[in-house]
Amino acid sequence: MALDVATVRKDFPIFDEGPGPRSEGRRLVYLDSAASSQKPRQVLWAMDDYYEHHHANVHRGVYALAEEATAAYEAARLAVARFIGAPSPRGVVFTKNATESINLVAHAWGRNRLRPGDAVLLTEMEHHANLVPWLMLAEERGVELRFLPVDDGGSLVLTDLDRLLDGVGLVGLTAMSNVLGTLNPVREIADAAHAVGAVVLVDGAQYVPHLATRVAELGCDFLAFSSHKMCGPTGIGVLWGDEELLDDMPAFLGGGEMIRDVRLDGWTPNELPWKFEAGTPPIAEAVGLRAAIDYLGDLGMAAVRDHEIALTTYALRSLAERHGTDFAVFGPPDPAARGGVLSFTYKGIHPHDLSQVLDVAGVCVRAGHHCAKPLMRRLGVGATARASFYVYNDESDVDAFSEALVSASDLFMPA
């Protein structure tokens, strides 16, 4: 069933119209969901309900309230496992965000398994979150980093994949580029990586919120994503991992919860997944994430994806019709080969200036390097502006965006 955006928008308080100091009566045109999504009432209610009626620390008290909090927290883990098609909740580790999930792998797997001279294969389109942890490891351990190149159309070049995989212990790649929107052939790369005995880490921060996800179909060993990009709260992310790999990895952060026994001369780690969850976890955030998953589940991830393809198709066509070659989009031209993320340049106006002028029309777009500076260099630009779509955007948002571009042109490009 197609998404009914008018109904969806009513679930998001931030789109409530009415006079306010910020809105000045404008309609909020939020086109920055690739950075962070807005939150539906169902998520806010779930977190309020948790704090008002069920909060205690988890996995500690024996009293009923503590049992309720623990049950709510673990129910969220089960919901995440179902949402990504994981075989069990044991492989679902709650972290702070996708960045921490990747750092967990770099520390607990990378430092344990990679020796000087071993290689890690990444891509030129990675977010800094999937670059810097490996650059740090490379400096510390003498690990060699290699990169799958990006072609001018914004797709990965796989011609040299076999040669690049020689001697590689881990392949890390994004399932969907936060700049180009490119949907990468994760399965093909994962199969080739597994054939040489490498493990595969997928950065799913942009993918999981927008496309139905099955870890077995992706073929990855680790999947990292964040709650706040999928209608959930900030402060919680997920690392899903193959249970055998997670079992063999040493713990990450030390503290309460992640231990089975502590003596003054040593400690033994807890079992999965708590081995990787030191200290009091983000309990209310887990409850909120579960509500977000239920919300997306009710919409249907197939409908979410169909909606974004339709909206991207409309945007690419209408913006080209109105602005011609003045509006240049990076990444694959086929809406079915990309997500609803449009990085663009417009008449050479600097993205900062564009974003500032669009803001006056209530249009929120991101301007900058999108935490992907190496990719910006590859594309030959210092920065781009980026408009990204989600379940609450419709054609009127695209039209408002398109109209606002003209006002930027009037200001910076006088006739």
Binding site: Q356, H369, K373, G382
Partner: protein, 160 residues
Amino acid sequence: MAPVLEDLYREIILDHYRNPRNRGDLPVPPARRAEGFNPLCGDEVVVYVELSGGGVHDVKIAGQGCSISQSSASMMSAAVKGRTATEARELIRAFKAMMSIHENRLDGDGHEISEAVAPDPGIDLGDLAALQGVVKFPVRIKCATLPWNTLIQVLDEAGP
């Protein structure tokens, strides 16, 4: 133009953006060169300064950026050219004061103390005063100050 933007995009700013002054580079040495980056947006400003006889003999600006960083660099280059190094530093200080740059700390009771860079009433900022409107857009202050911080780098490397 939308009224809210008039303070930011003053005509003189747009003029310096569209027709930047002192654009280019200088041979190093004798000139000195420094690069400044805005980590937020990837903007880059390169400042070349040729100092002679204790004065700023020539200035050139290279790099890329938004209208605010580029016009600020252009106006800065015009303002410091021909000044003594001491005058240039006074101008930098006055500009930063206009940008309301201050350091926040807490006193013993947890009250916030803002220490503004003291403006020197004797310094005439001239065209640069047009950039005052940037203060209303806190994110853009970094754009406006980028060339100035880069100029400080050059002067500091040259010694007092």
